[in-house]
């Protein structure tokens, strides 16, 4: 029996265990809420985790493209980027999966035959982990961008007015330079 068949057989248990591991990274009393509240609007975080877990495992087993998984991973990382996690913890859920698979396949490794296949899957997970890291950084940067934008929006008219006066008074090289800079900011 090949690795894919073995994993297919264990799909549900792997999904459940992986979900539980991710949920366990939240405060004790929140993790049960994440697990048990199934209504998607009442529990968006739990739902996002569930979707990512389901899709990633599906992709790994059914040889789907990584892109399909990436959408869900991106969503999950987006959530974790604004929660109380250190960067390493925010993206460590794929390493959890690797460890989980190793544990689940311990017997099969001993009887042999599936290790090579596992290495392939492992490297796919690694690729996903790298992708997640990129997403994480993207969203952290986004947070800072939002801070700046918000300030601009908040005093939109004041800034516009300030810029206007600036524009008409400072002609010459300095003015051109400032216009150039403003454009690059945009």
């Amino acid at each position: 029996m090949g690795l894919i068949d073995i994993l297919s057989g264990k799909k549900e248990i792997i999904e459940k265990k992986w979900f539980d591991m991710i949920a366990a990274s939240y405060p004790v009393n929140a993790s049960s809420f994440l697990k048990n509240q199934k209504e998607q609007f009442a529990n968006p975080v739990g739902n996002t985790i569930g979707e990512a877990v389901h899709t990633v495992i599906d992709v790994l087993i059914h040889e789907g493209t990584n892109e399909k998984a990436n959408t869900c991973l991106d969503k999950l990382v987006k959530v974790r980027a604004v929660q109380d996690f250190a960067p390493s913890m925010a993206v460590d859920f794929l390493y959890m999966l690797k460890q989980l698979l190793k544990d689940e396949l311990k017997n099969e490794f001993h009887t042999g035959g599936v290790y090579e296949e596992f290495l392939l899957i492992e490297s796919r997970i690694d690729t996903m982990a790298l992708f997640s890291f990129e997403s994480y950084l993207k969203y952290k940067e986004k947070i800072y961008e939002l801070k700046v934008n918000e300030f601009k929006n908040m005093a939109f008219r004041l800034l516009e007015r300030a810029n206007l006066t600036f524009e008409f008074k400072d002609e010459g090289p300095a003015f051109e330079k400032s216009v150039l800079e403003r454009d690059t900011v945009k």
């Binding site: 004790v28 609007f41 009442a42 739902n47 987006k78 959890m96 986004k142 929006n153």
Partner: protein, 538 residues
């Protein structure tokens, strides 16, 4: 379990809260989870106690020497003055119905963001100092002593509550966490533990009449720019009046409507609507702020800031008042203004000069919500509307917390929206109307230093928007709250970047057919009315 996994677990201790009792878990002020403390100058300007420079990350918060007495006396005074506070302290049975109703808990998972526990933060002190059972049984009865750590915890968590009242909808006894948070913040105010994001606007508002501290001449200037934009886009020249005595109506709106994006477009909507009606109304530079950050400070501060509205109405000799689109402003106007600064016996019960409708529901306060006013106009066919001008927009509506749960103004904005645009889609039932989710930035939390907290707190709201975006191609989120217009914009930028935020009267501005207007090719934002084919594929 293998060794590697155990190592993982060791690392996790870093962020996983200990399984200890909540009383044994002190707060950790991490950047991004707290708001900067109020500057001394702002406290001084408002005559508030203990002005000083400090930071929540400091070990020593420079509290007054008798801080304990101040808090306990303050609690006693408030227990005697507010039945709400006293009853809510006593009757919670900790059933947990509220636990998963708070957007901060749903989005972040911090147990102290469960409404019941947020209340226990203060209830435990109440029990320990004001009840016999608590004094005798102590921790067994959920009581604890008052320490400086408790003050720090209050500061952290009472500024992680947006006073949205969603939990109060589900509580079998109607326990309202907003009320508890308001008490908590009042007590913190007694020690000078305020946040700058609330007190600076409050001080500005006190002095100049509006949150940003815009002086009267600059305010007028800012309106000139709005009027230029309107003329540019519609061809209609509008000349509103300011501080005009003898006008029939005074109009008050949050100042963000005339200086912040995208509030300005809503403001243009008011200006165009009133112009088209030929309404005899005036703006005021003195009462140029509808918002009231006193609500996020103390009851006394609410009254001090709110007093301007009636005072100005009286000075100008108007008959009644219309209020713009705002959330917490309407909590104050609807539930506090008349009691605090009334009776408004110098005004007349509001009657629409256009339709003759008597606003019976505002006959004592004499202040009408703009959507009540406009809905009445539309119902009586007084406006010429072309909803197709909003056709590129696919719209959903966010019920702002206070209009929904402190007024119940639900149908008026929907009626307007349905009349000024053709594509309207409701968000799921358990995220709308009285069950609406907060934007995550209300009650003085809408500052950039709280960005992470806001993004996770706003996630349940964003999630519902995402749903209608995916399902119906919604690209515009309408709301009637100035704080929403600022915070939802940011929230959408993070979670659902294709969705922009708008006020109800911005949609009215687009649809309103005005006398003498030129052919409208751009909307009120100056963007093309019709999307080029293929550009907008939603």
């Amino acid at each position: 379990m293998t060794d590697e996994l155990k190592q993982d677990d060791l690392v996790k201790i870093n962020y996983k809260p200990p399984k200890k009792d909540w009383m044994d878990t002190p707060v950790n002020f991490r950047h991004g989870t707290y708001i900067y403390p109020a500057r001394a100058k702002n406290l001084k300007y408002l005559d508030l106690p203990n002005p000083r420079e400090w930071s929540p990350t400091d070990e020593d918060w420079k509290l007054p020497e008798n801080w304990k007495d101040i808090i306990l006396n303050g609690m006693k005074e408030r227990l005697d003055k507010y039945r709400s506070f006293k009853v809510f302290m006593d009757i919670c049975v900790r059933c947990g119905a509220c636990a998963d109703k708070c957007h901060f808990f749903i989005g972040g998972g911090d147990p102290k963001n469960m409404p019941v526990l947020r209340a226990e933060l203060i209830r435990s002190i109440y029990k320990g100092n004001f009840t016999a059972a608590g004094k005798i049984l102590g921790r067994l009865n959920g009581a604890r002593g008052l320490t400086k750590d408790v003050i720090k915890e209050w500061f952290y968590y009472f500024y992680q509550c947006t006073e949205c009242r969603r939990c109060s909808v589900f509580c079998p006894y109607g326990i309202d966490t907003a009320e508890i948070t308001m008490m908590g913040r009042e007590l913190l105010t007694l020690l000078g533990c305020n946040v700058n994001w609330v007190l600076e606007p409050a001080a500005n508002c006190y002095r100049t009449g509006n949150h940003l501290g815009i002086q009267p001449h600059a305010l007028k200037d800012m309106f000139e720019m709005l009027l230029d934009d309107i003329e540019d886009r519609t061809g209609v020249k509008i000349e509103p009046t300011f501080n005009r005595k003898g006008a029939e109506i005074l109009f008050v709106t949050p100042s963000a409507d005339y200086f912040a994006d995208p509030g300005i477009y809503t403001c243009m909507g008011y200006l165009m609507l009133f112009h088209e009606l030929g309404l005899d109304y005036t703006w005021s530079t003195y009462a140029s702020e509808g918002g009231n950050f006193g609500l996020f400070t103390s009851h006394e501060m609410i009254k001090r800031l709110n007093a301007k509205i009636y005072a100005e109405a009286k000075r100008l000799g108007v008959k009644w008042i219309i209020g713009g689109e705002c959330g917490h402003m309407w909590r104050v106007i609807h539930q506090y203004m008349d009691t605090m600064n009334g009776p408004a016996d110098f005004l007349e019960a509001p009657v629409s000069p256009i339709t003759g409708t008597k606003f019976e529901n505002a006959k004592s306060t004499k202040m009408v919500h703009i959507t009540e006013f406009t809905a009445d106009l539309i119902k009586n066919n007084k406006l010429k509307l072309d909803p197709s001008r909003n056709d590129k927009l696919r719209i959903t509506f966010h019920d702002s917390c206070n209009p929904a749960r402190a007024m119940g103004i639900l149908e008026e904005p929907r009626y307007i929206i349905k009349n000024v645009c053709n594509n309207f889609f409701e968000m799921p039932e358990n995220t709308a109307r009285e069950q609406t989710f907060c934007c995550g930035g209300g009650a003085g939390l809408g500052t950039d230093e709280m960005m992470e907290i806001r993004m996770r707190g706003g996630m349940p709201r964003a999630n519902a928007v995402q749903y209608v975006h995916d399902k119906h191609g919604v690209n515009r989120l309408t709301c009637m709250c100035a704080i929403d217009r600022a915070t939802l914009t940011t929230l959408m930028e993070y979670w659902v970047p294709d969705v922009k935020v708008t006020g109800v009267h911005e949609l009215v501005a687009n649809a309103l057919v005005m006398k003498g207007e030129k052919e409208r090719i751009v909307d009120i934002r100056g963007e093309p009315l019709k999307e080029k084919k293929g550009e907008d594929d939603v």
